[in-house]
């Protein structure tokens, strides 16, 4: 029998990909991966595909390029193919020609030229290669599911919890632009990004359903042996997306979303501990609000001594008790690019979350909640977020 694949790679392995062997440097590969993931999310959104379908497509995409080079397979063709296959697998099939049509709308003529003379044929041929490459491992799980599952167990202020989940949901969307799905199981990513969202939205989990004396933290109930270092590493990989250099974008690169550069610094401060060698203030831009201790302090020190910053600069930055807390927490997502929208789908394999519509806060991208049970239509403005917590 063929080799059993392991779809998780360590960081070293992620640097010796076919693309890197093909002379594509690591940062460029990461950018290509991000481009592909965004493109899948954009195209999928335009076609009313659900978040699961899009996420499945993105995972196929990342896996594909662990075996083939970006030089041999242009990323937008692969991305379209991944979305096409994911649509079928997730029981939300779309016609190949419609996907290509939607895809074309997001691409310059030069980029679309990579689809060749017969774009549909191109995608069909690639589908066979894709299937063989991913070993027909069609079913993939995503952090969304675990996010909702875990959130159900957390006790505390409902509204804050809701806000935290919404924020974590956005982080999960964005995490697809990274190689995290090639590094960690969706459970771990869900925990890490809930942890990050908890810090940012000041939702401290004090108690949870199913707690036993053995559980130090809520996630001990669900996953074992995750260190704080690991969780923070995952958070940083997502946060890196918001601080990527805007300089010298490649000519074929889509404009990056406005980088909310300051906010991520505060986010980092929220989760950075002393051993972290990153300099969280290095990216602070002028005039940006300085996060205050009121935001950080709460999350630091109580039961997590590791989070207490002993870094001088960092402390200076965050310890400013006189400064009033910003009226609005970091607005890092207010200018979220359109690809941040993903919608719970009406899908058989993954029933949409049920329950009251989300009480949307004002701090994060706010989209009108979908009318309960309304048909999923394209005319509606993007609805958002899970609601059954």
């Amino acid at each position: 029998m063929a080799v059993t694949p392991c779809w998780y790679f360590d960081k070293k392995e992620l640097r010796i990909t076919p693309s890197s062997l093909d002379g594509i440097d690591y940062d460029t590969e990461l950018r290509y991966r991000k481009d592909g993931a965004r493109f899948i999310q954009d195209t999928g959104t335009k076609m009313d595909l659900g978040y699961n379908t899009m996420a499945t497509g993105v995972v196929y995409f990342h896996r594909f390029y662990m075996f083939h080079s970006f030089r041999n397979f242009p990323r937008y063709v692969t991305a379209s193919c991944c979305l096409f296959l994911a649509g079928k697998v997730e029981e939300t099939p779309k016609k190949c020609k419609d996907i290509i049509k939607a895809a074309k709308g997001f691409l310059t003529d030069a980029k679309f030229a990579t689809f060749g003379d017969d774009p549909k044929e191109e995608v069909m041929t690639l589908e066979r290669i894709l299937l063989q490459t991913i070993k027909f491992d069609l079913q993939v799980e995503h952090p969304y599911y675990f996010l909702l599952k875990y959130a159900k167990c957390l006790k505390g202020d409902k509204q804050k919890l809701q806000k935290m989940v919404q924020m974590a949901w956005t982080f999960v969307n964005d995490s697809l632009c990274t190689t995290l799905c090639l590094q960690w199981e969706p459970e771990v990513i869900a925990v890490a990004l809930m942890y990050l969202a908890g810090k940012l939205s000041k939702f401290e989990v004090m108690d949870w359903t199913g707690r036993t004396p053995k559980h130090l933290r809520w996630w001990d109930m669900f996953i074992e042996d995750v260190t704080m270092d690991l969780l923070e590493d995952i958070c940083h990989q997502v946060l890196d997306l918001y601080s990527q250099p805007q300089t010298n974008p490649m000519p074929d690169s889509p404009p990056l979303p406005p980088a909310p550069q300051i906010q991520h610094a505060s986010v980092r401060a929220a989760i950075t501990h002393s051993e972290n060698t990153r300099s969280p203030i290095a990216t602070i831009v002028q005039g940006a609000p300085i996060p205050t201790v009121s935001m950080i302090g709460k999350t630091v020190g109580k039961n997590d001594s590791k989070l207490v910053s002993t870094n001088g600069e960092l402390s200076k930055m965050i310890v400013d008790p006189l400064k009033p807390p910003p009226l609005e927490p970091p607005s890092m997502f207010v200018h979220a690019p359109p690809h941040h929208h993903s919608y719970p789908p009406p899908s058989f394999s993954q029933p949409p979350p049920s329950g009251p519509p989300p009480t949307t806060g004002t701090l994060y991208p706010v989209y009108p909640p979908p009318p309960q049970g309304a048909p999923y239509g394209s005319s509606r403005p993007p609805s958002y977020y899970p609601s059954n917590i």
Binding site: M1, A2, V3, T4, P5, P18, L21, D22, G23, F67, H68, S69, R71, N72, P74, F84, L85, K88, V89, E91, P93, K95, C96, T108, D109, A110, K111, A113, T114, G116, V123, M124, T125, E127, R128, I129, L131, Q132, T133, I134, K135, F136, D137, L138, Q139, M250, P251, D252, P346, F348, S349, P351, S354, Q372, G373
Partner: protein, 406 residues
């Protein structure tokens, strides 16, 4: 396992700074790429063709490296596919990968043929399964094969076990019939053919599922499907299990309708008229008012099966499976707890009996089908129904209705 790096040096730039292999290069690349997770079908040597399904051909084959290892290879038909790899095959693969159980056929792997000029660089794919020596249809059509009561119990128990497992995993089989029930030479039953299977969800907050009702071979199709229900669930498979169970004694399918209305007529003759009294809610099914249903029929499941099925427990279980109202139909769990399986003679091993029939039943049935020696319609059971010309004729009155307008 990594692509041949010389290929990348031949890459041509296309406008916009993109690189792209030309057709030749791509063909070469595909031909040479050694997909680490997808072996070539040539690792198996075909022995004989054992089936021709709607979905594709099935071959018996042996592993060249380990000739003792016999497999069944089911070809994925892609010729008429406008939308690439068929969604039905994807479903079957996804479901088979999920289902790992003693009573579900085991998918070993998916193999490919190498892409070459000959196949226009389009690989063919095969689903490779552990080989099962017998199928239940073949065994039942072979008069030399005799099941004792204990052996019948073991067959049905395993069938229900498999159903219990797949239903717990939220999968509907949707194509229950004797031909899709395989049995190994060791007497282990395997549910096969998940080509029509799909995941189901309990409908929530008033949302209604809209599954296709054009599933399940007509003879095993439950009344709710025949009446156009699109929000069905596990009971559809238990109806099929009931039909198969009865067939263990009758030796051929118990209700062999030619059309959907006729099938409904046969069902009414056995299970009684379909009315809102016996089946609350039936009136809201799409076709209930569009089809003229037989009226005044009494339920005669036990009476009619008694001549074949002497064991009262067996009759009672059949009576609980062949229930019109899907909500009242027995589920797999309840069926497994039925006294039928917990009374003497207890279920017993099949391997000894099967050892007497070494000729693979596929070969037997294939050969017999070719020679036309198999009884199909002339079984006593069927005669029993078809002799009642008038009853069937009543069923024929609504043939003219076009039910195919989906």
């Amino acid at each position: 396992m990594m692509p041949n790096s010389s290929i990348s040096s031949m890459i041509n730039p296309v406008p916009g700074g993109f690189y792209k292999m030309n057709t030749k290069e791509k063909e070469k690349y595909i031909e040479e790429f050694d997909f680490p997770f997808c072996d070539e079908a040539s690792k198996y040597e075909k022995i004989t063709k054992i089936g021709q399904g709607t979905f594709g051909e099935v071959f018996k084959a042996k592993d060249r490296k380990n000739p003792a290892k016999i497999v069944a290879m089911k070809k994925v038909l892609m010729d008429n596919e406008k939308e690439g790899f068929p969604i039905t095959a994807l479903r079957e693969i996804k479901i088979l990968q999920l289902l790992k159980h003693e009573n579900v056929v085991n998918l070993i792997e998916i193999c490919r043929t190498r892409a070459t000029l000959d196949n226009k660089y389009r690989s063919t794919f095969y689903l490779v399964f552990d080989f099962c020596e017998h199928d239940l249809a073949g065994l039942l059509s072979n008069v030399n094969v005799k099941f004792s009561l204990g052996e019948i119990k073991r067959v049905i128990q395993q069938l229900l076990n498999g159903l219990y497992y797949i239903h717990s995993n939220k999968i509907l089989h949707r194509d229950m019939k004797a031909a899709n029930v395989l049995i190994t030479k060791n007497g282990i039953l395997k549910l096969a053919d998940f080509g029509l299977a799909r995941a189901f969800s309990q409908c929530k907050n008033g949302q209604v599922n809209r599954y296709t009702n054009r599933v399940v071979t007509l003879w095993y199709r439950p009344p709710e499907l025949l009446l156009g229900d699109r929000n069905y669930g596990p009971p559809v498979d238990l109806w099929g299990a009931g039909c198969i169970m009865a067939e263990m004694w009758t030796r051929s399918p118990i209700m062999q309708g030619n059309t959907e209305p006729q099938q409904l007529a046969l069902i009414s003759q056995l299970c009684g008229s379909i009315t809102p009294e016996t089946w609350p809610g039936v009136e809201s099914l799409e076709l209930y008012n569009k089809i003229e249903l037989a009226r005044g029929q009494k339920r005669k499941v036990k009476d009619r099966l008694k001549p074949y099925v002497k064991n009262p427990y067996a009759c009672d279980l059949l009576d609980k499976l062949l229930v019109l109202d899907p909500q009242k139909r027995c589920d797999a769990d309840a069926a497994l707890n039925h006294d039928f399986f917990w009374s003497e003679p207890m279920p017993c091993d099949l391997s000894k009996m099967l050892a007497q029939h070494t000729q693979s039943m596929f070969e037997f049935t294939m050969q017999s089908r070719r020679q036309g020696v198999l009884r199909q319609v002339n079984t006593p059971w069927i005669a029993y129904f078809f002799n009642r010309k008038t009853a069937v004729h009543e069923g024929l009155t609504f043939y003219r209705l076009d039910l195919r307008s989906d």
